[in-house]
């Protein structure tokens, strides 16, 4: 590999400046809630706010439910396609990529219009089902791709037949043979889903759900420095989730994909 000349360094320096300055500015903004001094007042104010915890808990629970449903749907489906239904691979792949064609705002609009007047939009529980369902759909591209790649790396047929010969039923095969073998893939799908759900604003706010994203947005109408502190918290959360994925999948290159809460 030849040594880098002037230009690559210049691009890197410009890129670094563009990426780092807004983060540094947010950081600084979040620390100056008390005039003239830097301190953690804004953070202290957030952590004293009950709505912070309730919205955070709401989004956290929704994220967990989303991940659980997504895993329960995707792992058996991807497994089955690999084992018995290879002719369905293209169709399933295409379906999981549909969330890129239907933007979040169109998705929530369609859901709200289509199920208008049903219990799904009339009740608090119904709206939460819609919210979680929409998030599960958003998680499909990442979860399917991750799990499918994981399944391709193991010999699904041999593992299944070996388990069957030893007398295992389908639940045992899926839970105790297949799942442990693709656990890393499932986890990386789960972490990206977590990052997406925790930061999501559009769907949650248009369904009037007390989630973390709408809370951050709402706070900005009444506070100046606290929203910056929340942006820092939110960035740290994304950083931790994606960092864990990169740690778990060392060696495999980062994947580019249209992502998350825009």
């Amino acid at each position: 590999m030849k040594r880098a000349s002037f230009w690559p360094w210049l691009w890197l320096a410009l890129g670094a400046a563009y990426f780092i300055i807004p983060l540094a500015a947010t950081m600084q903004f979040s620390l100056q809630a008390k005039r003239g001094t830097l301190g953690f007042t804004a953070y202290a104010n957030i952590f004293r706010d009950g709505n912070f915890f309730s919205s955070f808990a709401f989004s956290f629970q929704t994220a967990m439910a989303t991940i659980l449903i997504s895993v329960l749907l995707i792992v058996p489906t991807a497994y089955w396609v690999q084992l018995r239904l290879p002719q369905a691979r293209r169709l399933i792949e295409l379906l999981t990529l549909l969330p890129f064609v239907v933007p979040a705002v169109v998705l929530v609009f369609s859901l709200a219009r289509t199920y208008n007047g049903t219990p799904l939009t009339n009740s608090r529980e119904g709206l939460r089902v819609l919210l979680t369902g929409a998030y599960v759909v958003l998680s499909f591209p990442y979860m399917y791709r991750s799990v499918d790649t994981g399944l391709r790396a193991i010999n699904v047929r041999a593992l299944t037949e070996a388990a069957q010969i030893l007398g295992a039923g389908w639940p045992t095969i899926l839970l105790r043979v297949i799942l442990p073998n693709v656990l890393l893939s499932v986890l990386s799908g789960a972490f990206i889903t977590f990052a997406i759900v925790m930061g999501e604003f559009t769907i949650a706010s248009l369904l009037a759900q007390p989630a973390f994203g709408p809370y951050i947005s709402l706070l900005s109408s009444s506070k100046v420095y606290e929203p910056s502190a929340l942006a820092v918290v939110s960035f740290a959360l994304t950083w931790a989730s994606i960092g864990l994925i990169q740690f778990l999948s060392r060696g495999t290159p980062g994947q580019g994909q249209m992502a998350g809460p825009r």
Binding site: P76, T77, V106, G199
Partner: protein, 276 residues
């Protein structure tokens, strides 16, 4: 019988995506009494809707071009450009995070940077340059600068592997025939990479076109000339256009544009795989 195994997944995606989306498409062609009509589509020609579509398309195109070009330069720098491995690992790692860092927090980060009280705004003021009122973060270019923050990383993540895959012997063959570095890129490198570059830019276009939260946080959702996603969002919370059919047609317009964009992306993607 084997199809039974995928029924739960199919049922879920029908209930939460296909059925609602299809029903919106169908309803775009129905009037309030449920009769077939093209009126909703015709109503899209109202000036404020046309200008909103044009605004969004321009914003998406500009951020896809700028983000794509700069992302390409960065991807070049960490691959063929020969920057040390710490720079490569650092940039790819950061891109993985930054391509997922968008929406409300991203908007706040830019308010803290280029808003009226932002760090850079104040810093420039100290040097005697006042950004405002000539520039505003809440204007077209303000939105564009913010969007580019999630566009560049996506370009880097997709183009870095493509640049890695450029075969060394191509360059050696070109140099053996007496080509200069510039000639190699002009006649060999760029033509090979072009489908991948344009395809990824199409993806970036779609990425910006569907964005809602970032624009909402910056414009407050009430701006006159605004992105299409905000117009659609306003149809849910209150039927702002007082015309449900028009809302459906707006959503249909987005789906059509996104389908074209993603179709273009996958076509160009297939073209670029010829060389693998």
């Amino acid at each position: 019988m084997a199809w039974l195994g995928v029924v739960p997944f199919l049922a879920f995606i029908v209930a939460f995506l296909l059925w609602p989306a299809a029903s919106i498409v169908v309803r775009s062609f129905l009037d309030q009494q449920g009769r077939l009509t093209l009126q909703n589509i015709a109503d899209l020609s109202q000036p404020f809707i046309v200008s909103s579509y044009i605004y969004t398309i321009e914003l998406s195109a500009v951020t896809a071009a700028v983000g794509g070009l700069f992302g390409l330069l960065l991807a070049y720098a960490i691959t063929v450009g020969g920057l040390p491995s710490w720079a490569r690992a650092g940039l790819l790692g950061f891109s993985g995070v930054a391509s997922n860092f968008a929406g409300i927090p991203l908007a706040f980060a830019f308010i803290a940077t280029l808003g009226q009280l932002g760090l850079v705004t104040q810093w420039l003021k100290g040097m005697g340059v006042s950004l405002y009122p000539a520039f505003s973060l809440y204007s077209f270019w303000g939105l564009a600068i913010t969007y580019v923050y999630f566009q560049i990383p996506l370009m880097v993540l997709i183009m870095a592997p493509a640049l890695d895959a450029m075969r060394r012997d191509w360059r050696e063959a070109a140099e053996g025939l007496g080509a200069t570095g510039w000639q190699y890129w002009r006649f060999v490198g760029l033509p090979i990479l072009l489908p991948a570059i344009l395809g990824t830019m199409a993806l970036l276009f779609g990425n910006a076109f569907g964005a809602h939260a970032t624009a909402f946080a910056l414009t407050g959702g009430g701006s006159q000339s605004s992105v299409v996603t905000i117009l659609i969002g306003a149809q849910i919370s209150s039927d702002a256009l007082a015309n449900p059919g028009l809302g459906n047609a707006l959503a249909l317009g987005m789906i059509v544009i996104m389908t074209i964009t993603i179709g273009l992306y996958s076509w160009l993607q297939r073209l670029s795989e010829r060389w693998k």
